[in-house]
Amino acid sequence: MNGKKRKNSGGIGGFFRGIGTGCANIVKIFAEGDWMTKVSFLIMGFGCFVRKAWLRGIAFLAVEIAYITYMVTFGWKYLKDIGTLGVVESVKQRGGKIIYGDNSFFILLFGIVSIILTILFIVVWVINVHEQKNEEEILKKGKRMPYVSEDFATLLDKHFDKTLLTIPVLGVFIFTVVPIIFMICVAFTNYDKNHQSPANLFTWVGFENFAKLLNFGSGGFGSTFLSVLGWTLIWAFFATFLNYFLGMGVAILINKKGIKFKKMWRTILVLTIAVPQFVSLLYIYKMFTADGLVNSYLIAWGIIEKGNEIPFWTNPTLARIMIIVVNLWIGIPYLMLVATGILMNIPDDLYEAARIDGANSWQMFKSITLPYMLFVTGPYLLTSFTGNINNFNVIFLLTQGKPLSNSLAENAGRTDLLVTWLYKMTVQDTNYRMAAVLGILVFAVVAIISLVVYNMLPSVKDEEGFQ
């Protein structure tokens, strides 16, 4: 899949043209090839065996056998039903006996796996065909085929990348790519609590779920989606930039000339990075409840009156502020570390020159430190912004998205981010169809922001910049 795409960078048209030429090439190889090559079209690696390139022959043949075995014994029975996602209902008898029918979940999952494996098999088959041609040419030129040991040796040298990347790519493929494709498909099905495998079937419904999420009428999630999206963006903005500037401020403060115990200050701050968040954030949540430690002590000290407890988590605006503030508590130390490292890289003579020109510290910060920091950390700010859009822990451990409201649909709360809403849909409501749609939209939001901002970054535009 990658091979073809890369060579023809001319978009979709180029892609299909590439496939076209690829097919023509294969036909040509068949027409011009010797008998060994021709047999290899059916029995992969056959030519390699005859030409005594054992390792390659075994590899090709093994792929073919494995693929056919997989499809015959396992893959086909799922793949054949992918159009309907199963039709045989489970039979439920009085007394609790159940005979399970088709399992829509596995039909979809293994159907997708089978399709992907088929594509990969075709790729390997094409490689196999080209391999035959190469071998023919090598022999024609009177050279010998590489020994098995030489083949192996290249895996540690010329083809070392393949050795290094096989397992990581495979891992990403099975545990990220396949599930993502699966969930994208779920967005087009009615997989929810009433259509749950194995006892019930689910099936394709087209764009129905998208229509529901973007429907602004009654029963639709449109206005809720916009409201949650709005807060998600506000949150990501503050969580990124407040942390950034305050973290930088603290770093400058600690690194100030004449400040002692620099290490101690830093150590105190980084405690919040070290302590697992489920401990620290849950504790903080408890501290600030209406009847928690903070309110109780404020009452005991006579600062507030009983009955006027500060609604840290129940007032939506205050809850949002609290979340951002608590996030500072976690985020500032991190940024402080980053900023400390970068500040040390700023050449001292820049400051020296400024000082001679009579600049005060604010001016120096404004015209040297800040631009340098922004320039160097531009891409980091972007990833941290998109990371905050998907920042689950802080919200979930503090408010779980609460409080809810009449104006929000489907269990969404005032402090819910898109990602915590997604979590609620998945875990609490088992509404996988809508969760999948929401997930796709989160992806779209992140992708659009990344694309737009990335091209505006100074360090991308001007690679030389400060160097």
Partner: protein, 439 residues
């Protein structure tokens, strides 16, 4: 979590529950063909293992049981006792895991096959479990046993349509008032309780943003909110009249309660601060005794004077805790699970469970035990239950929607100065959403 709790039923409950609930076998034992997943699936009424002769062995394997944390040891002990009692059972081992009732139901729905073979849950989850086929229907014989042994309310709560699906374990899941009698000397009216708490600078707790608790107000003023479901556990109809004058009265009372200086939202004694009174259930009886000490007292819920000048008695739900068996493909294991579940909800074990952890029996014989009758909290509950409605089935959406309704009060979107017509607007949209869950 809401409604995952336990209460006690007494003969009083049973009597009123009968009148309120149409027992599930009202249409007799006619053979019904149900539809599963919306289209035709063959359902037979044949009970495969209900032969009179017990097999020599029920096979072997592990039976996983999910129950609340505080009865894990208890359940382990009695399940083991049961297995040891008969040579035919000895192929099985029992694995009891602490999984709370709310989580148990969600897990069973997420993945039936990995779920427990036997699990405890609160009755309002039943329809969900049935529609996801995460619970086995009882054979006719077992259903007859359930009806004979348990109070009518509990037996009815185990049914969806005409079939029973679970074994009642406790009669019931309801709430009443615990209070500190040194602070609250007169617990007869809500306004009075709030006033006394305010004066003492102490807190009154009620989880008004819970759909389980706030029915105390709405049902109290005569509003209705019930669902009807078909044999497959799908909701077919919602009977609701919250968007009415009575609904507004109840809603205003909630707003007034929340506005009290003494009010705190919550329903857990151990997490409460500065506690003087709390609306809670029997599961917190021991915790309440520890907190209040000699001043421990409990009573039915108070009355309140509505904005229309009338006095209303706070109402609410009376519910039950059930033990369910997962549908199995293996007949023998299914039979074994049913036998074990039956034993775990039998008179003997229900009484033992009451003695061990204070869960009130649904078994009629167990309810007549002297110890059960003498229980103080149970007496308060019994009194309260006269004013409640037996909890039927509610769709998932209802609970979060009800929380949303009252969260707006707690967050200050809706206040005492909100006009009646706006309140009606909120109730109308709430009512429409409730109706939409039954489509």
């Amino acid at each position: 979590m809401r409604k995952t709790n336990k209460l006690l039923a007494t003969s009083l409950v049973a009597a009123m529950a009968v009148s309120a609930f149409a027992g599930c076998s009202k249409s007799g034992d006619t053979t019904t063909t149900t539809t599963a997943g919306g289209s035709s699936s063959n359902t037979t009424t044949a009970a495969p293992v209900e032969t009179t002769e017990a097999p020599a062995s029920y096979g072997e394997g592990t039976i996983t049981i999910w129950v609340a944390e505080n009865v894990v040891d208890f359940t382990k002990e009695y399940a083991q006792k049961f297995i040891n009692s008969n040579e035919a059972y000895k192929g099985y081992t029992v694995d009891v895991q602490p999984v709370g009732e709310g989580e148990a139901a969600s897990n069973m729905i997420t993945d039936v096959q990995s779920g427990a073979d036997i699990y405890g849950f609160a009755q309002d989850q039943l329809a969900r479990l049935v529609s996801a086929s995460a619970i086995a229907s009882l054979s006719e014989a077992d259903q007859a046993w359930v009806e004979a042994q348990n109070d009518a309310g509990a037996a009815a709560a185990a049914c969806v349509g005409d079939w029973a699906y679970a074994y009642p374990m406790t009669s019931d899941n309801g709430y009443f008032l615990y209070y500190d009698k040194s602070v609250v000397t007169d617990a007869s009216t809500l306004e009075g309780i709030l006033k006394q708490c305010e004066d003492a600078g102490k807190n009154f707790y009620m989880e008004v943003n819970g759909g389980w608790y706030n029915t105390a107000f709405f049902f109290g003023t005569g509003c209705e909110l019930t669902y009807e479901s078909d044999t497959d556990g799908n909701f077919t109809k919602c009977n609701v009249n919250y968007a009415s004058d009575n609904g507004v009265v109840a809603f205003k009372e909630i707003i007034d309660t929340v506005a009290s200086k003494a009010f705190q939202n919550g329903s857990s004694v151990s997490n409460a601060t500065n506690l003087a009174a709390i609306v809670d259930g029997t599961w917190d009886a021991n915790a309440a005794k520890e907190v209040f000490g000699d001043n421990y007292a409990c009573a039915k819920l108070p009355t309140f004077t509505g904005s229309d000048g009338n006095t209303y008695q706070m109402s609410g739900f009376g519910g039950f805790k059930l033990l369910g068996v997962k549908p199995q493909e293996d007949d023998l294991k299914l039979a074994m699970c049913n036998l074990l579940a039956q034993y775990l909800t039998s008179e003997e074990v229900q009484l033992a469970r009451y003695e061990a952890v204070g869960w009130g029996p649904s078994n009629k014989a167990a309810q007549t035990s002297e110890a059960v009758k003498a229980d103080e909290a149970l007496a308060a509950l019994a009194e309260q239950l006269a004013f409640t409605i037996p909890q039927g089935q509610y769709p998932d959406g209802y609970w979060s929607r009800a929380t949303a309704l009252v969260d707006d009060v707690i967050t200050g979107v809706i206040t005492q100065s909100t006009s009646d017509s706006d309140l009606m607007g909120y109730l109308e949209s709430f009512q429409n959403d409730c109706i939409s869950y039954a489509e």
